[in-house]
């Protein structure tokens, strides 16, 4: 198995006829994802690479049983599209779009909580269970299937680490991006908990960065886990007071520092890598133990 998605997942894309949507529909389907449908309001009846297009998420759910949706509409339309997906009963909503207004994100998370929908993102590369299902925009060839769960705030950095693991012949059960925004759905703790209960996962790699307290909260949870965790934190050299690309990646008033996160993770029992390329060795030693 894997967490969140697997070979049984029936995926759909909201915004499937858009530039990003159409491009990634082809790649997701090509990977073997059961991509059953997509939406593009006003374009019902069209097809993208043989995948049927509907006006509403409800149609994708009732006609095709879609249960996971990748949301790729432009930021101003995410609020409406996310509510539509949640109302239609989508179980896992993956919001790929970046620059979503943060007040819209708060509304979406509150509604998702009411309806027991799990939200990944916004501003995420998505989720991939290698060899089973890909719902997102990640370069799929860097992932091989195996026993490591990977959870990351950052896209490219997680590709880097997945590739380094792959070169050491270490595979991944599921890789998930929580998203780079201030307000996101599933956090490190939610996903660590899911990996802790996943039979396929033996070890978890957490890729964090400066800013916020998500890594510290993860460190507290790691104390309760039976599976080993390897962590890497980016932003050691970042100056305080400047936001490094991601909404949360800023050290302000001495909070969210690399040192604090590293100390918390050390204390929580994670093995913290100094560099991305150190992760495979640490994981290999965890898997041996």
């Amino acid at each position: 198995m894997a967490i969140l998605v697997n070979e049984k997942t029936k995926a759909m894309i909201q915004g499937i006829t858009g530039r990003q949507g159409a491009f990634h529909a082809t790649r997701m389907a090509g990977y073997g994802t059961r991509l059953v449908a997509g939406t593009s309001p006003g374009r019902a009846g069209a097809e993208v690479d043989g995948i049927p297009v509907y006006d509403t998420v409800e149609d994708c759910v009732t006609k095709h049983g879609a249960n996971v949706s990748a949301l790729m509409v432009p930021a101003p339309f995410v609020h409406d599209a996310a509510f539509e997906a949640i109302a239609a009963g989508i179980e896992i909503l993956v919001i790929i779009t970046e620059h979503v207004p943060v007040h819209d994100a708060m509304d979406i998370m509150a509604y998702a909580e009411d309806r027991d929908t799990r939200v990944i993102g916004p501003n995420t590369f998505g989720v991939i269970a290698p060899g089973q299902c890909k719902v997102g925009i990640m370069p799929e060839r860097v992932y091989r299937r195996g026993p490591v769960g990977l959870v990351s705030r950052s896209g490219t950095l997680s590709y880097e680490i997945a590739a380094a693991l792959g070169e050491s012949e270490i595979g991944i059960s599921t890789a998930v991006g929580i998203g780079g925004d201030m307000v996101v759905g599933e956090g490190f703790v939610d996903l660590l908990r899911a990996f802790e209960h996943d039979a396929e996962t033996e070890c978890v790699v957490l890729v964090g960065e400066i800013g916020g307290t998500a890594e510290e909260e993860a460190a507290e949870f790691i104390k309760t886990m039976t599976k080993p965790v390897v962590a890497y934190i980016a932003g050691k050299s970042a100056p305080p007071g400047r936001r490094m690309g991601h909404a949360g990646a800023i050290v302000e008033r001495g909070r969210g520092t690399y040192e604090a996160k590293r100390a918390a993770l050390d204390e929580g029992g994670a093995r913290v890598a100094d560099f991305p390329w150190d992760v495979p060795d640490l994981v290999a030693s965890c898997l041996k133990d």
Binding site: V102, M106, M109, M138, T156, A234, M244
Partner: protein, 390 residues
């Protein structure tokens, strides 16, 4: 307005205009740009005034950026001193001239977004007037607000009760809290703060205020001016829609992804060098944007330019095309280029670079080490363990 830059911080006078629009009491006053105007405003206010420098930095009071004047002539003199002065490197070109408040007690009221609860959080204290970070935890009251229902009066009563205020002050505080929450939601704020919320003989007044807006919502608020203070280079790169932060090292970096760009900076530092900037061209930036960004980086006169791309959405062939174009345009003027290129369309990218006579690294370690050595670093690693496991 650029989504990738720092949040949009409004000047005090803009924050107070917004407060007033939501019915929050603020001192009478106006913003001025000359000593003459300051004198006029002081005259029309008819009493002692405060002259407050409008700069986006903390510690304004300690830096001498606030002065008081008993009459219009003194206001003119004080304004002449303040206008054109600098506070933490920022030139004062506007003053807020306000009635001077006679404050009996200072409270604090703020609203932030709490990432761990994914919602708004009210922070209040009966000990205002100082940085809230310096107030002991026992004097701080926190209250979560559910965006589904908004702020209830019972929550406000709970806040004032825990703060230990009562009577007219508590009722007025509650009204201001309700208004501030409406403002927070209505204006797409990420942070707003009234500090101090001053108790005067005429009731509570927002003596100072902060309001920081969500850049990603800027399209919904066309009336809000762009207050970002950017250098020419920041302006240029922000105009491309890319995320850029100038730093103090000698190695210019272009990388894709915020986390990967930070990791690149960290690795350079490990090798005894430092990044000159943070530049994230991730998210599928077009070739033209990368070309412009690279030319702009070359213009900052670095010792070396390091390109680190692990292509996902970003395509290596596009990166290579941009790199070749800039290389062949002469814009580099001899600045050495170190390229690490892997991921989507890697082979095509490498071929493009090979034809142009540029060699590309496969491993980040090797690329970072070479760039660091050219950028004043040690090439062996700050603590001697740089080449583990490669």
């Amino acid at each position: 307005m650029c989504p990738g830059s720092d949040y949009l911080k409004l000047y005090e006078y803009m924050a107070k205009e917004t407060f007033a629009r939501y019915g929050i009491p603020v001192p009478a006053g106006s913003v001025v740009e000359s000593a003459e105007e300051a004198e006029q405003v002081a005259g029309s206010l008819g009493g002692p005034v405060a002259l407050k420098s409008q700069v986006l930095s903390g510690g304004r009071g300690k830096a001498g950026g606030i002065q008081f004047a008993p009459d219009p002539a003194a206001a003119r003199k004080a304004a002449a001193e303040l206008l054109g002065s600098t506070i933490q490197g920022l030139v004062v070109d506007r003053l807020l001239v306000e009635e001077q408040l006679f404050i009996e007690h200072e409270l604090y009221l703020g609203l932030i977004i709490d990432p761990s609860t994914r919602g708004p959080l009210i922070i209040a204290s009966r000990k205002g007037g100082v940085d809230i970070e310096e107030v002991p935890g026992r004097d701080i009251v926190r209250e979560r607000v559910d965006v589904r229902w908004g702020l209830f009066p019972y929550q406000v009563r709970s806040i004032t009760s825990r703060m230990g205020i009562s009577g007219r002050m508590a009722r007025q505080f509650g009204g201001i809290a309700m208004s501030l929450y409406r403002l927070f939601r209505g204006e797409d704020a990420v942070l707003t703060e009234i500090n101090p919320l001053a108790a005067t003989t005429n009731g509570l007044v927002a003596a100072d205020g902060r309001l920081t807006m969500d850049d990603d919502s800027a399209y919904r608020h066309p009336e809000v001016p762009d207050t970002h203070q950017r250098t020419e280079i920041e302006e240029k790169i922000a105009g491309l829609g890319l995320s850029y932060v100038p730093l103090d090292g000698r190695v210019a970096i272009m990388a894709n992804g915020a986390g990967a760009t930070m990791a690149t900076m960290d690795i350079l530092e490990h090798f005894g060098s430092r990044a000159m900037n943070f530049l994230d061209v991730g998210g599928g930036a077009s070739g033209e944007k990368m070309t412009e960004a690279l030319k702009t980086l070359a213009g900052t006169d670095p010792d070396v330019i390091l390109i680190n791309v692990f292509g996902g959405i970003t395509r290596c062939d596009e990166v290579a095309e941009s790199t070749r174009e800039v290389y062949q345009s002469g814009a580099l003027r001899g600045i050495p280029l170190v390229v690490r290129l892997v991921g989507t369309n890697e082979e095509e990218g490498r071929e493009i670079l090979r034809e142009a006579g540029i060699s590309a690294h496969h491993e980040l370690l090797g690329a970072a080490r070479e760039a660091a050595a050219l950028g004043g670093g040690t090439a062996t690693g700050g603590d001697g363990d740089g080449d583990t496991s490669q």
